[in-house]
């Protein structure tokens, strides 16, 4: 709104204050991460100002640390499997919410979205009780089910948003021209939802890689990366943890920027990224 900036001379100081405030908030959001990255190169340890003797030693130690890489592998398995579960059930759920009427639809809609807003420990504890009663031992598989279920919400909201922008006429035309539902789904519906689905997949992957509350209750013998880091934090901290954190940061940064670009392509509106938040709130009403 250029109008506001140039409208009155008395308005200028206000914009300067806002700029200072914005800069301070961004510093508050980013400085801790910068410090974390900086100290991953610090020979002396995670604290101590000023940092001196910058070194890559902690990364060398990290790359030789098998327990960490085992947990990374576990986390990758969990994230990909959770992604498969969430999409398998989340995409049809979005179609169902968009197109079908069934008893309990309102409850179903809210239920799907609950894990996104409820404290993770509630979802984790309740699933642990289910597995305990069913005599299923905790393992990576139980974590996969936990993540997969909790993150259906992400797939459903992203795809549901995509469906609202879908041109119904294309599907109608396909059906009128004699294609069956299955063909129409694969050739028309799914390609139109491609960006929403990839976006959802990226978010599910990122959230699963970082998930700790649900995993905490469902962990078996094999650690995921966040739980491995968590365990080490309780034993004392070294810049090796800064090093792995830096790597995690870089990867989530790349994923999020990629996701954002996709989202901008999917809708040229300004609301990207908050659709998820908005819908999860509507869910409970």
């Amino acid at each position: 709104m250029e109008l506001l900036v140039t409208n009155a001379a008395g308005d200028l100081p206000r914009s300067r204050w806002l700029l200072i405030h914005a800069t301070a908030v961004f510093a508050f959001l980013y400085l801790p991460i910068a410090v974390l990255v900086l100290y991953s190169f610090n020979k002396q340890g995670v604290g101590g100002f000023p940092p001196h003797h910058l070194t890559l030693d902690w990364y060398r130690i990290l790359f030789a640390d098998e327990a960490i890489w085992d947990s990374v592998l576990n986390s990758l398995k969990v994230a990909f499997a959770a992604m498969a579960i969430s999409l398998t059930f989340g995409v049809p759920a979005a179609l169902a919410l968009d197109r079908a009427q069934f008893p309990g639809k309102a409850v179903f809609r809210r239920l799907v979205l609950l894990p996104l807003i409820l404290p993770g420990i509630i979802t984790g504890l309740s699933l642990a009780m289910l597995f305990h009663l069913a005599l299923i031992k905790s393992s990576l598989a139980t974590i996969i089910v936990g993540h997969g279920t909790a993150l259906i919400s992400v797939a459903t909201t992203e795809v549901f948003a995509g469906l609202q922008k879908l041109d119904r006429a294309q599907e109608e035309a396909s059906l009128d021209l004699g294609a069956n539902y299955w063909q129409t789904f694969w050739r028309i519906t799914l390609p139109n939802l491609k960006l929403s689905i990839i976006g959802a997949a990226l978010l599910i992957f990122t959230l699963s890689m970082d998930e700790i509350a649900v995993s905490f209750f469902l962990i078996g013998r094999d650690n995921t990366l966040p739980l491995e880091i968590w365990g080490r934090l309780r034993r004392g901290i070294t810049p090796e943890i800064n090093a792995i954190s830096t790597i995690i940061f870089v990867f989530s940064l790349i994923t999020i920027i990629f996701w954002y670009r996709l989202r901008m392509r999917a809708d040229s509106g300004g609301d990207s990224g908050i659709g998820l938040l908005e819908t999860s709130q509507e869910a409970i009403e």
């Binding site: 709104m1 109008l3 506001l4 900036v5 405030h21 914005a22 908030v25 961004f26 959001l29 801790p32 991460i33 974390l36 995670v46 604290g47 100002f49 000023p50 398998t88 049809p92 197109r99 009427q101 069934f102 239920l111 799907v112 807003i117 409820l118 420990i121 509630i122 504890l125 309740s126 699933l127 009780m129 289910l130 279920t149 119904r168 109608e172 978010l203 990122t206 970082d210 700790i212 509350a213 209750f217 966040p226 880091i229 934090l233 901290i237 954190s245 995690i248 940061f249 940064l253 999020i256 920027i257 996701w259 609301d271 990224g273 908050i274 938040l277 908005e278 709130q281 509507e282 009403e285």
Partner: protein, 282 residues
């Protein structure tokens, strides 16, 4: 235009999965909260209200719940104080940098939560970055030990984590305000402050409510930050559930606490939704 079979195929599988892995577990938790554990740590499936009585009798539970709500309230307040002016700046003053700055808000929202909580631990520790920096510039002689292992550390870290959650809905609300309303207010001679309080702020209230709800609800149930940075005085309600699940092995009591949290959270969402409806102008 969609056949019955189509609707069944898209409805049945997600419905079944969500029932088995979401609805049944929540109901199971409800049942557990009325059960108890024996001295040999077996679950006794007889129905009673003992867990709820225990919650009311022992002050540690409701004191911790109240402390969690107090921490969450402060986090909400600080997130709004940091978030609102930033969202306002983004919407009205950012100009061509709007898109870039918006991305800068999105990034911390999704960047590893564990990484950011850990970063604060390295900054606030007694030999951490902040304390050694303060001593280096001779502002203090001894480490300030209230920085880490205190409610302060938890509030600071959670504010850092949940501020972006408040910025986005407020920004969305500000973006949806028809610009000609603001122009009209100017044309009618209202000074900028009056335009803000009489036009812009009331119209942004739904966004503020949404952001406040997120910050409050998410920080209320947090268990990582208190465990990592809170120390004994910064323990929150989720930490009690976690310890009842692990070492203490009293799942029924943990279930009762979880259920109270669930009821609290859902009623908060309900109330905020009602208020948002009341304040939205369309």
């Amino acid at each position: 235009m969609f056949s019955r079979a189509y609707k069944t195929v898209v409805t049945a599988p997600p419905l079944a999965w969500v029932t088995v892995f979401l609805l049944v577990p929540y109901l199971l938790m409800f049942c557990y909260s009325f059960w108890s554990v024996s001295s040999t740590q077996a679950i006794i499936h007889t129905w009673n209200l003992d867990n709820y009585r225990e919650l009311l009798r022992k002050s540690v539970y409701w004191e911790t719940l109240l402390r969690s709500m107090w921490i969450a309230a402060r986090v909400t307040l600080f997130s709004l104080l940091l978030g609102y002016p930033l969202a306002y700046f983004l919407s009205f003053y950012a100009g061509s940098r709007k898109d870039l700055l918006y991305q800068l808000v999105i990034i911390p929202l999704w960047v590893s939560y564990l990484v950011r909580a850990y970063a604060w631990k390295t900054i606030l520790g007694s030999e951490g970055v902040l304390n050694t920096l303060l001593q280096y510039v001779h502002l203090t002689k001894h480490p300030l030990d209230f920085l880490l292992y205190s409610p302060f550390a938890v509030v600071l870290t959670l504010t850092h984590i949940y501020t972006p959650f408040t910025i986005l809905p407020i920004y969305a609300a500000l973006e949806h305000i028809p610009r000609n309303l603001i122009e009209a207010s100017h044309d009618l001679g209202a000074p900028p402050a009056q335009t803000f309080w009489k036009v812009i702020f009331p119209l942004s209230i739904p966004g503020v409510l949404a952001g406040a709800t997120f910050a409050f609800v998410l920080s209320l149930g947090d268990f990582l930050a208190p465990l990592l940075l809170g120390g004994p005085s910064g323990i929150m309600i989720s930490n009690i559930v976690v310890s009842l699940f692990g070492a203490a092995y009293n799942w029924p009591l943990g279930a009762a606490i979880s259920l109270c949290m669930l009821v609290l959270v859902v009623s908060l969402l309900f109330v905020s939704e009602r208020l948002e409806k009341k304040w939205s102008f369309s």
